[in-house]
């Protein structure tokens, strides 16, 4: 067990170092969600307050959008995990790892946690951005739970991406999957709008979609400023989602990740 932890730390640190040694990745990771918040968030800047409060349960659409936008970002973060694995397969680094006594699931976990950490890097900057736009930041526990729910979402989504590309070495696959699933998952969720007015089929997707659960859970914390009024079902759903996807990923990685 100690060996597995050591191996995980080694590979996880590598992922993090590779992120921090690439300024373009950091800048783009931070700028992209900020642009979303500023441009998309401003689209309702002159909407009547009554419309906003009726439709979004807040008079500040940015406050509504914040958790949804961060949840959506995690969808795209997932793509990085599979791109990173494919890069390591192509460069032979996976083979280097696999000739050491490292089990395949450690490679999987390091990629998932590495991508999730990269995704979480944007959160502090986005929070500073939304504070400027008048959004109240929740208390410390609320903030921690908000971040934790995002992390769970990110872990689950990164696992899905890795599962879909585990046996592939084709750069195009993650991008194709991203194009295919990210937009439907983003729009069929409560990330941008409440799902009350969705058609029934889209509501079904939205009610299963973990992006909705993360968006709604985070939104409740932002609106209340603490965790006293949150519905914990959303959180538990994310916990089960992340745990299940990680478990499936571990099993599949041990069985299918190879260079044969």
């Amino acid at each position: 067990m100690i060996r597995a932890i050591n191996q995980f730390i080694g590979l996880y640190i590598r992922e993090i170092m590779n992120t921090f040694r690439n300024p373009a990745v950091i800048i783009l990771s931070i700028v992209q969600p900020l642009l979303w918040i500023v441009f998309f968030g401003s689209s309702f800047a002159y909407a009547p307050v009554s419309f906003l409060t009726d439709f979004f349960q807040t008079d500040n659409y940015v406050a509504f959008l914040l958790s949804g936008q961060l949840a959506t970002s995690m969808l795209f973060v997932g793509m990085f995990s599979s791109l990173s694995l494919i890069q390591d397969k192509k460069s032979g680094y996976v083979r280097r790892i696999m000739t050491s006594p490292t089990r395949n699931y450690i490679i999987f976990l390091s990629k998932v946690f590495g991508a999730s950490t990269r995704g979480m890097l944007q959160v502090p900057i986005v929070f500073i951005g939304v504070m400027i736009l008048g959004v109240q930041i929740p208390d410390a526990i609320g903030l921690m739970m908000f971040l934790f729910s995002l992390l769970l979402l990110s872990l689950g989504l990164s696992s899905i991406y890795l599962l879909l590309t585990m046996s592939s070495s084709d750069w195009q696959i993650p991008t194709l999957i991203s194009n295919f699933i990210n937009l439907p998952l983003m729009f069929a969720s409560t990330a941008l709008f409440p799902n009350d007015n969705f058609p029934p089929w889209m509501q079904i997707i939205s009610n299963l979609n973990p992006v909705s659960y993360s968006s709604t859970f985070g939104r409740e914390i932002i609106f209340a400023g603490n965790i006293t009024e949150v519905n914990w079902i959303y959180f538990y759903y994310l916990l089960i989602f992340a745990g299940f996807m990680l478990l499936v990923g571990i099993i599949v990685a041990n069985k299918t990740l190879n260079i044969d």
Binding site: I2, R3, N6, Q7, I9, G10, L11, I13, R14, M17, N18, R21, N22, S91, G92, Y93, R95, R96, I97, M98, T99, S100, P101, T102, R103, N258, I259, D260
Partner: protein, 355 residues
């Protein structure tokens, strides 16, 4: 050293006593048999070279031996552990260096080593071990340099350091000097020898360079179409092939058909080839060149020259002695020049007859 593809060992092999032991090992991809009922035993402390044309099964064999691929049939033991059921134990005891440079280029030398140390779960002692190796391989002054800034030779040295960090018993080197310039290649040869002698590591080497195998290896096996078709020391392989070749160019042609009978030299094995050189000069238009295989050229030559001179006075233009080398043996055994690309499935019948 047990060789070839027999399923019955001459002496019952013991997986614990051998660095590497393969028993009836096969690997099949679809309808293609890449490793075919292979039997091999490599003792501890040796430098073993595996030669073969592209597609002969070298890399597949290394994949099986390093626990990356499961054999379709048979068993392989590395450092006494079954590569199939005890692959983690195998990996604890091996190092691996590939033909390409596989490092994290954005990290420094020390960071790459640190990750390797974690992968092998080396405790706090990894830094001392790394420093010693860095000093030994003359990289200590550059340990904080990013790998992308290193020369290919330095990168190869770093790979060797990383492969030795956990004190492996066996080091697999899959064409480690491919693409390197001659001086860097020779520098690596020096290090490979040192790894074997100073660190006592058994080395399993595949190479595209005959000279490399000849210079470095105690034992060489030639693999073709997944089968090992010859094994022995470089010297033994040369001897078992065909002995020396005496090449005699004559100023004018003559009836060479009964040459060996006329010469009365019993140990001329055969007249290998006749070459009417028509292109060099007009003077040589009708000349004759004979290649005669003999067991030992120095023993035969004086008698041969005197008999030829008796038969055809003043007719010898040049005499050249060709000692056997691995290149010629490889050609003879596989029917291919070393480094030729071939189709694994197409030539099995040609070569199996030579086993």
């Amino acid at each position: 050293m047990v060789d070839h593809n027999s399923t019955t060992p001459v002496v019952a092999p013991n997986s614990k006593n051998s660095a590497i032991l393969c028993l009836g090992l096969s690997k099949v991809y679809g309808s293609q048999t890449v490793v075919d009922n292979l039997r091999l035993e490599i003792s501890y402390g040796s430098i073993f070279g595996l030669l073969g044309p592209n597609g002969a099964g070298k890399t597949t064999l290394i994949k099986i031996l390093t626990g990356l691929s499961k054999p379709s049939e048979g068993k392989a033991f590395v450092a006494g552990f079954d590569t199939n059921s005890e692959s983690i134990k195998v990996k604890e005891n091996i190092g691996w260096i590939s033909s390409e440079v596989i490092l994290d280029e954005s990290l420094t030398i020390m960071e790459n080593i640190q990750i390797q140390a974690r992968l092998h779960d080396i405790g706090k002692g990894w830094k001392d071990r790394a420093t010693n190796l860095l000093k030994y391989f003359e990289l200590n002054d550059t340990k904080v340099k990013k790998v992308e800034k290193l020369s290919t030779g330095m990168k190869k040295k770093l790979e060797i350091i990383m492969a030795l960090l956990h004190k492996p018993k066996i080091l697999f080197m899959d064409e480690p000097t491919i693409g390197l310039d001659a001086s860097t290649r020779k520098l690596l040869w020096k290090f490979i020898r040192k790894i074997n002698t100073v660190y006592g590591v058994t080395i399993f080497l595949t190479t595209h360079y005959i000279e490399e195998a000849e210079v470095l290896c105690d034992t060489i096996s030639i693999i073709n179409n997944g089968k090992i078709i010859a094994t022995g020391s470089p010297q033994a392989l040369k001897t078992q092939a065909h002995g020396d070749i005496i090449e005699i160019a004559f100023l004018s042609s003559f009836d060479y058909k009964n040459f060996s009978t006329i010469c009365g030299i019993t140990n001329i094995e055969e007249i290998d080839s006749i070459d009417f050189n028509k292109t060099v000069e007009k003077r040589l238009t009708n000349n004759l060149k004979l290649r005669i295989k003999v067991k030992n050229a120095e023993t035969v030559l004086p008698d041969l020259i005197s008999r030829i001179t008796e038969l055809r006075p003043n007719n010898i233009e040049t005499i050249r002695i060709e000692k056997p080398n691995l290149e010629s043996i490889f050609l003879e055994l596989t029917g291919k020049r070393f480094g030729d690309v071939d189709d694994v499935s197409s030539s099995s019948s040609t070569n199996s007859s030579k086993n």
